[in-house]
Every structure is written in C-alpha cells, then in structure tokens.
C-alpha cells in the first residue's frame, strides 16, 4: 500500500465532507431557523401577522426537502470521486488527480461537461418512456430518503414532519420502484442490449428483494416497530446494544460488565441473572441471536448490493457484455440523472444498514466507558468554545450534530466497504446470480427468520 495515496484519499474525503456539511447544514439553518426567527420578530408588531407566521411554518416544513435537495448532488459528486480514487488505490494506479486541486473538482467538472452535451433521442425510440425513465429512477431516491432524515438528525424538531410510524415499510416500497424505470429505459431505447439489460434488472430485483425484506423484517420483529427513529434510539448506548449484535440480546452483558470490571462478582451475577432469567438457555439463545443478526446483516448488504446493481451484481449495465446495458443510449443530463440516482441509492442503502444494524446515530463506545471520561467538562468546554454558533445563532445543536456525525461516519464506512467489494469481486453470470438469490439467500433468510423467532422466546422474557 502506498501511504502517500492513502493520505491523499483521506485528505480528499475530509475536504469533501466539509463541502457537504457546510452547505447542507447552512441551508437547513437558514430556512429552518434563521428565516422563521426573523419572521417571528417581524410578526410581533405587524398587521399581516397570520401571513408571516404561515410563511415561517412553511419554511420549517420545507427544510427536510431542501436538505435532501442540497445534499444529493454534492454527495453524489463526492461519492463518485471517492470511488474512483479508492479503486485506483486498490488497483495500484493513479486516480483522477488533475482537475482542481489534486483532482478534487473532477466530478464537478464532469457534471458541467454533461450539461453541455447534446441530448440525443435515438430514432425508433419511444420518446415518452425514454424521457420519463430517468425521472422515475431518480424520484424514489428523493422521497425514499425522507424517513431516514429523522433518524439521521436524531429526530430534530425540524425533521419530525418526515418521521412516519411505518418508516421501514415506506422505504422498502420506495426502494422497489427504480426497477420499473430500468425496464422502461431498456425497452424504450430501441437497442437490443439495453432491452436485455432492463430485463436483467427486473429479474435481479425480484430475486433479491425477498432476502432483503426478510432481513429487515426480522430486525423490525426484534425492535417491535417499523419506525426508523425508534429503531435507532433503541440501539443507543454503545456497540453491545447495536442490532448487528443480537438486537438487544447483549444488553444484560452491557449492564453487567462494569460490575465485573470493578471486581464486584456478586453484582455481576445478579445483573446477569436478572437479564438472562433462564440461565444457560438464555445465554445460548443470546449467542444464537448474535450469530443470526450477523448473518442477517450480511444478507442485507449482499441483496442491497444486488438491488442497486453494484458490482458483483451489476448485470443490467455490464460494460463488457451489454456495452452499457440500460443506459447505453442515454447522453447528457439524462445520463447524469441515472448516474446521480445510482450513487444516491448506494448512500440510502448504506444509511438503512446504519439505522437498522449499526446503531443509527449512537456512539459506538459503551456507556460505562463514557462514564469514566469527564464528559460533562468536555461538553461544557465545547459550549464555551462554540458559544456563538450553539447558543446565539442556534446553528449547531450538539445532540443533532453528534447524531449526524456518527451516521455519516458509519454510512461512509459501508460505502468504502462497497467500493472494496467492487475492487475485489468479478461479475456474476446471470444464471449464477439467480441461483445464488433463490437457492442460497432466500432459504438462508427464511431459516434465519425462524431461528430468530424461536431464539427470541428464550431471551424476550427479560424485557419485562
């Protein structure tokens, strides 16, 4: 490994994360806090009070949408560049490193280039479907992301409007829409290779949706809710509470560990007995649950990879066999929209994994370790240092900031993992893909679901 290249990749990531953070946060703050505050001040001594208050409320309601709209293009720009540079690192070559400062502006330049391209509709193409396909592909990535916003920001009051009680179900419904657009794009292009690509996309989507949904539903069964915010909140308090480690099966261990560390074995066994009332059976069931959730997480990541057509499941757009699959005939801004939506989908899939398996915005450090640190002094110091942004301008809400910070860290780690997989694995053949989906993943998902159901019977009793 080339340490200089690793340093450059890290620097690029840092710079771009700042480029993402400040516009998105600033836009949310301006529309959600600053403008309503000014309007409220104005409304105090004004005859048109009702209108001003209405505009203020409207601004607050539009904040979630605005944050998504600002976030999606910048994030896609960053992720494309990150993927190219990381792939270059894995395959020991130079990535894009000319445009801007060390390649930082490469994707921005690409986007501008695509704007100046000619928009071609091939002869014989079904023009209406051809034009609609990118829109239908892109739209779900916007409205599918909305329930996740509440989980990412720790249910900040501005984002509570998008917190639906059936969040997971809603996200799944939105996530199954893009495949329609792929079939439309493939069919309407008047291109046999695109048609094959579109059909493959549909075949792949119907095969891999079942393990994906079953994995998520099993996690919902453990959490007892479909609300993404509640699922994220349940996992607060350190890595042992995360859903990937048994969905709460290790909570008792988390509670009992401090007693063991301080040498108090009596309290240790008392706490364990309280949380695992059936002794050996409870312990065994907890271990089984941990194994099951790790399998489910793997299942989810694998089938999500297939759902968003990433290598090794990128058969719909296999460059070497189908030229470029469903988007061969697209040029200019339509192609750009396809590209944008693909990377946004990768981000959404990773954030679902974060919320469902990796603890959402919660800190990975267990509570009892945090208790040893002088947390109060640290936060008081933060408050004093950042007095103006936190208290005067209400620009930084510490709770929301740390929630978003941990979500972003976890999401981009999963994205990095996806890039690593892309750099490692070759592409499946279509029959292998279907076999892998139906004969391996679906039975595995069904069996894991059943095992979880029965293992939970022994563990769930401690809930009361």
């Amino acid at each position: 490994m080339n340490s200089e290249e690793i340093f450059k990749l890290t620097r690029l990531t840092g710079v771009w994360l700042c480029l993402i953070f400040f516009p998105v946060w600033g836009a949310c703050w301006a529309v959600g806090v600053l403008i309503p505050n000014i309007l409220t001040e104005l409304a105090k001594d004004s005859s048109s009070q009702n209108i001003l208050m209405f505009v203020s409320d409207l601004c607050k309601a539009l904040t979630p949408i605005l944050s998504v709209l600002v976030f999606i293009p910048i994030n896609a720009m960053f992720m494309v560049l990150f993927e190219r540079r990381a792939l270059a690192l894995f395959t020991v070559r130079m990535g894009p490193n000319r445009t801007g400062f060390d390649g930082l502006a490469q994707t921005a330049a690409d986007a501008v280039k695509l704007l100046f391209k000619e928009d071609i509709t091939p002869t014989g193409a079904d023009a209406v479907l051809f034009t609609l396909a990118p829109i239908i592909f892109f739209a779900p990535s916007i409205f599918g992301a909305l329930p996740l916003l509440a989980a990412i920001t720790g249910n900040h009051e501005l984002f509570q409007i998008v917190n639906v009680p059936t969040g997971v179900f809603y996200i799944l419904a939105a996530a199954s829409l893009p495949v329609v657009a792929l079939v439309m794009a493939g069919w309407s292009s008047n291109n046999k290779y695109s048609l094959v690509g579109g059909l493959r996309a549909a075949a792949q989507a119907v095969s891999y949706e079942i393990p994906l949904v079953l994995a998520l539903i099993t996690m919902c069964l453990m959490a007892g809710t479909l609300d993404v915010v509640k699922i994220a909140e349940q996992q607060a308090g350190g890595i042992l509470n995360w859903n990937i480690l048994g969905g709460g099966a290790l909570v008792g261990l988390d509670k009992a560990l401090p007693a063991l560390l301080s040498g108090n074995t009596v309290e240790w066994s008392a706490t364990l007995a309280k949380y695992y009332p059936h002794g050996f059976i409870s312990a065994l069931a907890s271990v089984v649950l941990v194994i099951c959730t790790v399998i489910l997480c793997g299942l989810y990541l694998t089938s999500a990879c297939a759902e968003i057509n990433r290598i090794p499941f990128d058969l719909p757009e296999a460059e070497s066999e189908l030229v470029s699959g469903y988007n061969t005939e697209y040029s200019g801004i339509k192609f750009a929209i396809f590209f944008l939506a693909e990377f946004t989908n990768l981000f959404i899939v990773s954030s679902i994994a974060t919320v469902m398996f990796f603890g959402g915005g919660s800190n990975p450090v267990p509570q009892w370790i945090l208790a040893m640190l002088p947390m109060e002094q640290i936060s008081a110091m933060m408050n004093a240092l950042l007095d103006i942004p936190i208290n005067k301008l209400q620009f930084l809400d510490p709770k929301t900031f740390w929630n978003a910070f941990w979500v972003i860290v976890k999401v981009y780690s999963i994205v990095f993992f996806a890039v690593l997989v892309r750099g490692t694995l070759p592409r499946f053949r279509i029959d292998q893909l279907m076999d892998f989906g139906w004969k391996r993943l679906v039975p595995l998902a069904l069996v894991t679901f059943l095992v979880v159901v029965f293992a939970r019977v022994a563990v769930v009793c401690h809930a009361g």
Binding site: L115, G124, I142, V164, I217, L221, V323, I333, L450, V453
Partner: protein, 133 residues
C-alpha cells in the same frame, strides 16, 4: 390521531415526490437546453447498440425467461406483507392471553413458514428455479 398521520404521509409524499424531483430535473433540463447544442442528424440519431449497424428494430416481442421467478416473487412478497403485522404484534400476545401463551406466536409463524418453505422446496424440485430449464 390516525387521520393526522395519514395526512402527514400524504403531504410529504406529495411534496417530497412531486416538487423536488421534478423541480430539480426541470432545472437540469432547462440548463441543458440553454447550454447544450442541438443539431440532430439521421446518422447521429441511430441507436449506438454495440457499435455496429443495428439489424432490426429492438422494440419487439421477447421471451421473459424469469416468468416463474416473477410468480414466486409475488407469492413471497405477499407472504411478507402478512408477516409484518405478526412481527409487530407477537410480543403483545402473552400480555393479553397470559404468560402461558408464550408459544402461540412462534407456533403460528412456524406453521405459516412451514407452508412457505414447503412451497419453495416444491418449486425448486419442479425446476422452477432453473434459469436454463
């Protein structure tokens, strides 16, 4: 309470779907119309396909190989819709029926899943899960 939630969902689907997606794409479109050039000609407008001259129209009748897969998918998807309410309410069963009823929820889903797995095994045995039959 319930009406409020429904209207919430409705509003944010409407606003979250129609307004931003269309607005953003329209903006990009207008930008391209202004910035890009447009000089179509018959050769340029030919489908690229694989770089060769296309032999025939590609909008044609085609063989859907995964017809059986799709049927199975619909079955499984509907089963999942049935599983969701069970998964959300099964923990409340002992509270309603008494502690002795702890086995009821798992037993229900056990029977349900047995039928499902049996169906999958049957389809597998019959060769519905073969891409090249």
């Amino acid at each position: 309470m319930y009406e409020l939630q429904l209207s919430q969902i409705f509003i944010f689907v409407l606003v979250g779907f129609a307004l931003p997606a269309l607005g953003m794409i329209l903006l990009a479109w207008v930008l391209q119309l202004v910035l890009g050039y447009h000089t179509p000609n018959p050769i340029k407008n030919q489908p690229y396909e694989c770089g060769m001259k296309p032999i025939q129209e590609a909008i044609l009748q085609f063989d859907i190989r995964y017809y059986l897969y799709a049927l199975l998918f619909i079955l499984f998807d509907i089963e999942i819709i049935f599983i969701i309410p069970w998964a959300l309410s099964t923990d409340r069963l002992p509270a309603i029926l008494g502690k002795g009823a702890w086995w009821l929820g798992p037993a229900e889903i056990g029977v349900f899943m047995f039928i499902l797995v049996f169906g999958l095994a049957y389809a597998w045995k019959k060769g519905a899960l073969e891409w090249d039959p």
